[in-house]
Assembly symmetry: C2
Homo-oligomer: 317 residues x 2
Amino acid sequence: LFADIKAAAARLEGVANRTPVMSSRTFAGRIGAAAVYFKCENFQRGGAFKFRGAYNHIASLSPQERANGVVAASSGNHAQGVALAARLLGIPALIIMPSDAPTAKLAATRVYGAEVSQYDRLKDRPELLLAQFASERGMHPVPAFDDPLIMAGQGTAALELVRETGPLHLIVVPTGGGGLLSGTATAVRSLSPRARIFGVEPQAGNDWVQSLAAGERVLIDPPDTIADGARTRQPGALPFTVVRELVDGVVTVSDTEIVEALRFLTLRMKLVVEPTGALAAAALLAGRLGDLAGLRVGAIISGGNIDPDALAGMLAP
Amino acid sequence: LFADIKAAAARLEGVANRTPVMSSRTFAGRIGAAAVYFKCENFQRGGAFKFRGAYNHIASLSPQERANGVVAASSGNHAQGVALAARLLGIPALIIMPSDAPTAKLAATRVYGAEVSQYDRLKDRPELLLAQFASERGMHPVPAFDDPLIMAGQGTAALELVRETGPLHLIVVPTGGGGLLSGTATAVRSLSPRARIFGVEPQAGNDWVQSLAAGERVLIDPPDTIADGARTRQPGALPFTVVRELVDGVVTVSDTEIVEALRFLTLRMKLVVEPTGALAAAALLAGRLGDLAGLRVGAIISGGNIDPDALAGMLAP
């Protein structure tokens, strides 16, 4: 609900960064739009929008729930979001990560003071470990996307965007589990009711496209794509309900198109983004969203946590 | 004069980007400061602060001076600033560039509609070519830094910064010819009179340090440094007068320190900067500015025009 997003915004006031909205005349000219406004969540605390939902969820816990700490399973931005939010609220956090996660991500999570528990990706199932820690140690599990407080928190990015730009014709959002897309849709339907809303996912991981076509949540094989934040195998249950009702569609882009967009954002707009963060820009540049002539377009850059080697490889292939 | 900077700000209103001010708790914590505010001129039009001075200068020309167009000698950001400003004002521009300038910079200048005249760096002297075009074709030469209108234009970045942050204890500025440093000093002395003001230049090109010590402008050999925007061999005459009077000092950093700062800005703050743009951050990280405990610090990131190969090389050495 829109009221939940406004409540989340109040909780995040003075805690989350109010990230800048950037535009590029060259980008708008290339796709024929009147203007393109990028909401830059790569500048969010922890380097991605994930902090918004994690903080909103954890700040809403009762003193009793807080006492035993929180636990989350993630090798990516959700891990850092939960670890940082928990530290700011003075709550212990345990993050369950695969043992082959990049050293940089392990280190980044530990920097925020979280305990890290590693598991074997081939043998263990993180959702079972999560349930086990929750029951054995009484820790409160923080879901990555399938939760009203997480979805409301993620919706605050679009709330800030549309309040700054005014009504938009089109808004384009990267989507993995659907927390950001569903939160955005709820915010935009209230603030800019006539805007068309589209999600973008990698071609190799098109669980949303398949699910929307089937009318039910489809489980796909683990996808192989550089967009590591959108490697989810199935839409979240709650996000799916919201997206079906409020979103106009989900489109896909190839890894090559992601790299091209990432290079434009880096070299022309001077923004460091991760591949998942470039999904919306990629869909716009690749012409996946139809005729954009004269339109005012909003796009969310979801995050900027990228390995130096990976970024170097995309810049000098 | 401060009045000139306010007049420049009025001319640039709605034309130049009002660039964001970014801060990083991690950066401030690492140097022990209370807060560090980065004025991000890498997000300026043309990718650097240079557009401010160029536009302020060219917009002040008489109709007669405009008629024959403008000419500038530069292989860097001044070229793009002049080309873009001239295009916006509907004035022909000729840019004199060395024939071995990177193809990307030639192309970027031509994108803005400027004519490019190439010269042989070993045989020709660009200042003579500039004078020749000015006399033969009646073109108005746009200086890179040694000019009151250029200096006033560059001062608008610090004007915006201090108006946004309020008074600062210290402000740190990259310096080449001194246009940005002198303009900044003039703005800051009026807006935040007790702030200490420091310039930063590369160790290999320490013409400012030598000149301030000698009490006169020293000419050094062509410096070898990755900070290509600060390879000037001698301070500008007018900037030198202003800097001697208003600035507390100029410090130097090594290329290694520049790369370290650039990596922090890229990977932690998600900002694409060029080596010269990282000078102020490098001086702060390297401890060149003494005890910063409890201080509110401003720093200017001068630009973000970097070759993809060069950036890749610094990220994955």
